[in-house]
Symmetry: D2
Subunit: 293 residues, 4 copies
């Protein structure tokens, strides 16, 4: 923070978030931290994990640095190359360009838009796309463009998915959120969005996969119901889990009441997963996720 | 508690717990409460439930009454008959005669025995029966008889189950607790113990049925692990659920650590289920349970 | 549900919720259930509690009955009189006329209005009154009238409170909700609203009373932060507690982050308390509340 | 784990845990990781925190290294000196020499001893010291020496505390656990044990300090009760908080029932705090703790 009186302008502090994964071996932390010192940086937050399952090493760093992006990237480049790292460098807090898909349920969409507006969620949502028009007013109130395209058969489904891909291109989308979008994506779209699409499932997976999970939960008489945010894969309800929450219920709850009770868990679970993803805290390790909270 | 000096003995207050189920219809509460008034009783605790699934009505009452058992039963008998009730009358707090089956894991057995001893669990455990001798000292310390019978093949398994049935008869057992007993009961034994045997499964059912649930949970990367206490039925891990708990875990936990973390949930979930059962708070409604907490 | 073919119209089933408190004594349940039978009613939900602290008996019943209000009240009147009951009879699900007071924070107001709109909260909110204009658009979006009156000194505070009382009269208000209204009410207003005003405090009371609870929580290094919904009394932050929730935090959270994390707990805790109150599930027993969940 | 056939002995892998705190400045991580590389070590676990409150930097590392203790310490010494670090180097998993103080309550003591025995708690408890003889059998069963010394007046209190200090010396104690020890320590003893004594308080601090917290909690009608493990300081119930847990209760619970319900939270909260302390995961930052979970 000190600087010479002769310098008329204070130095600019950049805040970088770096995520890295590579095959595990000794010396990685030292190499990365050395590059950061070289880039006149100070590590302000750090989490690491060595996966016994895959033999890979993962680290997430937040760095305060005097170096601008090009200087910072240049300093890290040799380390990244030497260790064969998959690395990502970004500005801390930059809003992630996020496309939201919805159907008729309002709770998750409202929660996402409300938090975006309140500055609690580092995302920029340029569009909500729905297969119904139900949420037009709600989305409009939050100042976000809304489009609806009915999905009733294979052709309209293809048109909807084409619109999704076009929106991804147009807005340079980094994250697609299925906020209770009630259509199954085609395997092609799942593949195209791999690692960048998050779904909220209204059960505590792997229990109650498929349709009507609350009805299943009622029939089975579970004492806790929950919600699961997970990456979208072509294997339905089987993508890597990002976050889960449960809430206690008892025998007196009808399937309809379970729906209402569960919605709070869905909203907060999805928003939490989106927040972590946008903050680059979610990394994939095979079929599992690493969450650097 | 006050009584006239001329009365040589204070009236004896009996504390009864009554559980009833019958086809639902109007007037049941009035009829039951009328019988209780006739038996000079006062309702101190009451919970009821009408099942939309089965059309049955369930009620649990605690009553303070001047009537002894025969007078009390006589007062209720006409109501029970008229409504075709399945009814049970018992003394509040009477320890339930409970047989514990175990293998090598100590945590659930220790928790049950410690709570029995501390007066927190209204059970009387006359015997712990195990297919290993591991827990002999622990059980002995708590002053409870212990027997072990190895189960290595069909013949020894039959001998073990025969010993279970003999123990049930000898001690007039009302509840059998499988405290991490790691053998699958034969369908015959399951049937014989129907509605009176509780198992603890080390996952949040219906997720991760079968063997090695913690290993499955690790592989699937769930963010919460749990335990489920349920009635034993011949349909493995599918019996009516009595209680469930979960605890948060993260990516850094190995399968072995999940085992250690999960044990606390197993112990408290099983002890809770046993406590409710012993207090006559657990009723069955088809494949679901009603818990009158 | 069956009716004679000669009857042209099916009988109307009324759904009543009855709450009663009176000095405890034997026979109350029988007397009440008898009156209900007389009013051609069937008890569908029932909870009772005898307070050892105050010697009072409390019961909440939901009843399906063929009797209209006047017949139903007439049937219960003798019982109410005989036992000296404080009793309330209402229609199940009737929206409670609710006035919301707010300042600048949006999260609790948004949650209440969103749930009202979604049919999850049985309230009718005819007005949101604030000492700031910040929330005008949000409230308007939900279709609810909004007024703001600045509070800057004793005179403007008196004007605001006068407006509150006028609104209570105009709209026949049954519940006043302080949804992060950041002014202390005068003792006179507290007294006037006794038993019908709910406040949300942003800490786990009785810890961190008064101003800046999250800053206090940070300084003290607590591992869980929370929110408390309680009745408003002239004794600040000391009114009977209705509901509390907590969430885990760790050392890395700044006071500002605690604020953001805590807001979710505030919203859901307040909405839960309002829901229970509106459903007549909240009764007062001295300085404590009874919640018939 | 692979090694050349010509090498007669495999290299020994030491597992070190290092905790460090020092004034924050750039380059610390790089300097420490460089020393670790020099000591032929690989970082397997790492957590760090920069305190905005005190300006201090904290880091905890687990390292797998070919260096033995003297080589490892020699490699780190210059870094420790240069940055003015308070540093601690230990073997991962080494049992901490722990003295337990108790009174009559069994639950916390039983939980600690059971977990020690089950290998879940990296402590070695050479002695349980109590002001009552109640727990003699329980402690003996777990194979741990037990002494009781009545505390009835100032003189006997002084004798007890003298015995504590003597035991600390005799057994080279690193941690003193007050497992529901119901006497207030003198300020002198508090000072002597500063930073190495953990107490369990049976409330969710800072609510309900002092005596009879469950009675206070009942009177106040809280909806969650809890337990707090904290460092012992001469300022009663005000020491830095290490861990807290809560459990939901309702109006129907008597003070006595709250005691029983709360005991589970006390046991697991205390054992958790002891585990983290023994694993060197608890660091003090002024009046707050840092928990490197």
């Amino acid at each position: 923070m000190d600087f010479d009186a002769a310098v008329p302008h204070p130095p600019i502090h950049h805040h970088w978030v770096i995520t890295v994964s590579c095959p595990d071996q000794p010396g990685i932390v030292h190499a990365v931290s050395g590059a950061i010192v070289a880039a006149r940086g100070n590590i302000t937050e750090s989490q690491q994990f060595s996966s016994a399952d895959t033999g890979r090493f993962f680290i997430r760093l937040q760095v305060e640095s005097l170096a601008d992006r090009s200087e910072f990237e240049a300093a890290l480049a040799p380390v990244i190359e030497h260790y064969g790292m998959a690395a990502h460098i970004d500005t801390v807090g930059r809003p992630l360009r996020t496309l939201v898909l919805a159907s008729t349920a309002a709770h998750c969409v409202n929660d996402l838009l409300f938090r975006q507006r309140a500055g609690q969620l580092p995302v920029h949502i340029p569009l909500v796309l729905s297969n119904h028009s139900t949420l037009r007013d709600l989305v409009g109130f939050h100042g976000v463009p809304f489009e609806s395209l009915p999905v009733t058969d294979a052709a309209s489904k293809a048109a909807f998915e084409e619109r999704v891909l076009r929106a991804v291109d147009e807005h340079d989308i980094e994250l697609v959120v299925l906020a209770r979008y009630m259509q199954i994506l085609t395997p092609e779209l799942c593949e195209r969005l791999e690692g960048m699409a998050i779904n909220i499932h209204h059960s505590f997976l792997p229990g109650f996969k498929g349709a009507n999970p609350y009805k299943q939960a009622h029939a089975r008489g579970v004492k806790l119901i929950g919600a699961t945010a997970h990456f979208v894969t072509s294997d339905l309800d089987e993508g890597p889990i990002i976050e889960q929450n449960v809430v206690r219920v008892d025998h007196s709850r009808s399937p309809g009441e379970l729906v209402a009770i569960g919605q709070d868990e869905e909203s907060r679970t999805l928003s939490q997963a989106v927040k972590w993803f946008a903050e680059r805290r979610v990394l994939q390790d095979g079929a599992r996720t690493i969450i650097f909270r």
